[in-house]
Amino acid sequence: MTPERHLRASLVLVAVFMASGLWLEAMVGLRAEGWLDDPLRREFLRLGHAHGGLLGLLNLALAWALERLATPPSWAGKIRLAAWTGALLVGAGFMLGGMLHGPTDPGLPILVVPAGAMILLASLAATALVRPSDGPPGPES
């Protein structure tokens, strides 16, 4: 993933999950059934909204950090893809898990949240640990 594409995709991620906040607010205002009367769904939609938005912002910070730290392109491209995918999985996993929940627990999509979190953590660790000398110079993938 190129730096430019990462920046644009991260801004889209922030925009989408921030916009979902408008949707949640509208459901409160409209007293929507299946929302106000469903605490489990409400909790997980809120978690998705908050995590997706914040992790989108984290991606913007990561994009800046990768430039500042001169992470080798062979790593940087994959870190960008991983960080963005991780943020998407966490935010969407919470939301879909809440929308498709069972009697007491979120639905199966919640299982992608740990996967997304692992990818994100790995991205952050790699950004922190990989040095400019750790990879051969070359075009970013």
Partner: protein, 604 residues
């Protein structure tokens, strides 16, 4: 070996996804996670365990009267009953601050013992004689209408003779809550008529997983899963359910309709089985094997066939050699006329259709937001019927009359229980013509048209385009002499009199307030306390509606459980204020004399 960025970044997540997928597949295919489990004889885990995963359901149950069916006012040791689940502190409705209550020449004093535990003491000779009872309250029973108190005497629990009436915030004697003659002043037998044993009576329908524990020696070793009607009374023992659902993958798959044989979900049972869960308590029954039930409980687990452990009591049910001992609890057509027979009434209803039609769950919701009656949202009034019946036509001829809905005609208030008039749960169509000339059963029409005769009701049916027995009606001289409800009020048996007084007090009943108040004032003289209660409460409601402040004040001095001399004095003043004679008319005299033949005695 060079580091591979893709593997490091995505590898752990991919491993997690593979592991989770395998776990899901294994759990979904593991029969131990889904198959039915025999839960008979399994101990309950308690409602607090259920609350961990089902907080909303727990909250709605916690707000219900089911929870407070039995409470322990002072938790701790000293109770002879074995409890599988430690109770939370119960709510005591009565003050127990030294109140006294005199009845039949005995004085009950309600205060607290040295330990602070609530206590009830009874002395003879209006409180100056010997102490007949001095016992701490071990358990409370009920809390919606009135709260009864249970004390332990020599290792056995007994329901004590006085109770706290919630609506009136006063003490009452239990004789006043049952439909039976008052008893003689000074008679200890009459005073202690309802000093009944908890271990083999109240335990059943007021607790979860009750076991009376009657021993061969005649002693009791009673045990209760959880005090009150808690989660597992309707869902069955939940230990296996809890164990299975420790697996989070199992919980996630729970909503995918793979079945769950570790718990009963009443809403997923057919109407027959679902209603049987309620019928276990809301339908008086006779055990198939009484000795086993008294020793070990009935063994019923929610979802079982109730008929395997008991048979519901109907009018023609027998026990022992006594012929039809329960007939008094039913109207002549077999409709139950007491509460706690709702299950039988449902079974008799065509809408139930032998379990293929509607069940309790159709109108009631144990986890709704309405504790009173626990009516399902949208299922009150006409809402109860519109799923199956088209109400577009001008059915019943009462369209436009806001106060009339389906239930008024098809589930009239012809059931007595707990000092209240209640709807009949036998869903029927009114047919006053079939009852003309009979004086043993109320009809839906005249329960609202209280100033009208049954003949008028029968003749009006055709005018409204309704089917009913033809008006080729036998002449009955008594029928000519007054409204149907008035005939019941003066000449019916005590349950008819209770319900007649209840009908007269309804805000939307026909007839002038003055007329209804005069009739109710006559009923204040009734020899049955429950009739006097209905008459007094109804008269008070009508006096308030008529803004007769002085009469309301006088009525406040009337105590339906007071000695007759005290009552007569107040009744005289009430009649004076109403401008009615104390001895009303020949009809009253004629019917009152015949009333001795209608004496009934319905206790436990």
């Amino acid at each position: 070996m060079p580091l591979r960025p893709g593997l490091l970044l995505f590898g752990p997540a991919l491993a997690w996804v593979v592991a989770a997928g395998l776990g899901l597949a294994w759990t979904a295919g593991d029969s131990r996670a889904w198959t039915a489990i025999d839960r008979h004889g399994v101990a309950v885990v308690g409602s607090s365990t259920c609350s961990e995963c089902h907080p909303d359901a727990w909250q709605s149950w916690h707000a219900s009267w089911h929870r407070t069916m039995t409470q322990r006012p002072v938790p701790g040791g000293g109770l002879s009953v074995e409890l599988a689940v430690a109770p939370e502190p119960g709510e005591l409705l009565a003050p127990f601050a030294g109140e006294t209550f005199d009845y039949l020449g005995f004085r009950a004093t309600m205060d607290r013992g040295a330990s602070g535990a609530p206590r009830i003491r009874v002395k003879s000779d209006s409180g100056v004689g010997e102490t007949l009872l001095d016992v701490e309250v071990a358990l409370t029973v009920g809390s919606h209408r009135y709260q009864q108190y249970v004390g332990e005497i020599d290792g056995v629990l007994w329901r004590l003779p006085v109770a706290w009436h919630r609506g009136e915030a006063r003490w009452i004697h239990m004789n006043g809550a049952f439909v039976e003659p008052e008893g003689e002043s000074g008679s200890l037998v009459d005073y202690q008529r309802h000093l009944s044993r908890w271990n083999d009576n109240c335990i059943f329908c007021h607790n979860t997983e009750p076991v009376p524990g009657l021993q061969d020696s005649g002693q009791f070793q009673s045990a209760v899963g959880e005090l009150g009607i808690a989660c597992e009374a309707c869902h069955g023992p939940a230990a296996a359910h809890v164990e299975r659902h420790r697996n989070p993958l199992r919980r996630m798959l729970a909503g995918r309709d793979l079945g769950d044989g570790s718990i009963t979900h009443p809403g997923r049972l057919d109407a027959g089985r679902e209603s049987a869960i309620c019928g276990r308590c809301h339908g008086q029954r006779i055990a198939r094997d009484i000795a086993t039930v008294m020793a070990h409980g009935d063994g019923f687990v929610a979802g079982d066939d109730l008929a395997e452990v008991s048979r519901p009591i109907f009018a023609d049910s027998t026990i022992g050699t006594e012929p039809m001992p329960f007939a008094m609890r039913f109207w002549p057509d077999g409709t139950p006329r007491l509460s706690a027979y709702e299950y039988q009434a449902l079974l008799l209803s065509p809408c139930h259709d032998s379990g293929a039609g509607l069940g309790c769950n159709h109108c009631h919701d144990m986890h709704g937001d309405q504790p009173k009656g626990q009516i399902r949202a949208g299922r009150s009034g006409a809402g109860a019927c519109i799923d199956c019946h088209d109400l577009d036509s001008d059915h019943g001829g009462h369209r436009g009359v806001e106060s009339v809905d389906c239930l008024d005609c098809h589930m009239p208030e012809i059931t007595y229980g707990l000092l209240e008039g209640m709807v009949s749960h036998r869903i029927t169509s009114p047919d006053p013509g079939a009852l003309v000339g009979r004086h043993d059963q109320p009809d839906a029409c005249t329960q609202c048209h209280v100033d009208r005769s049954r003949r008028w009701a029968a003749e009006s049916m055709a005018g409204l385009g309704l089917l009913g027995s033809p008006a080729g009606l036998p002449e009955d001289p008594l029928e000519q002499r007054g409204s149907r409800v008035l005939l019941d009020l003066h000449g019916g048996d005590p349950i008819q009199r209770n319900l007649a007084a209840h009908a007269l007090a309804q805000p939307d009943a026909s007839g002038s307030l003055e007329l209804r108040m005069a009739w109710l004032a006559d009923a204040l003289e009734d020899e049955y306390p429950s009739v006097r209660w209905f008459a007094w409460r109804g008269l008070r409601a009508l006096a308030e509606a008529a803004s007769q402040a002085e009469l309301v004040r006088t009525l406040a001095e009337f105590d339906y459980l007071a000695p007759i001399e005290a009552r007569v004095e107040v009744i005289g003043r009430i009649h004076l204020q109403l401008g009615t004679p104390v001895n009303p008319n020949q009809l009253f005299d004629d019917l009152s004399e015949a009333r001795a033949e209608t004496a009934i005695w319905i206790g436990e």
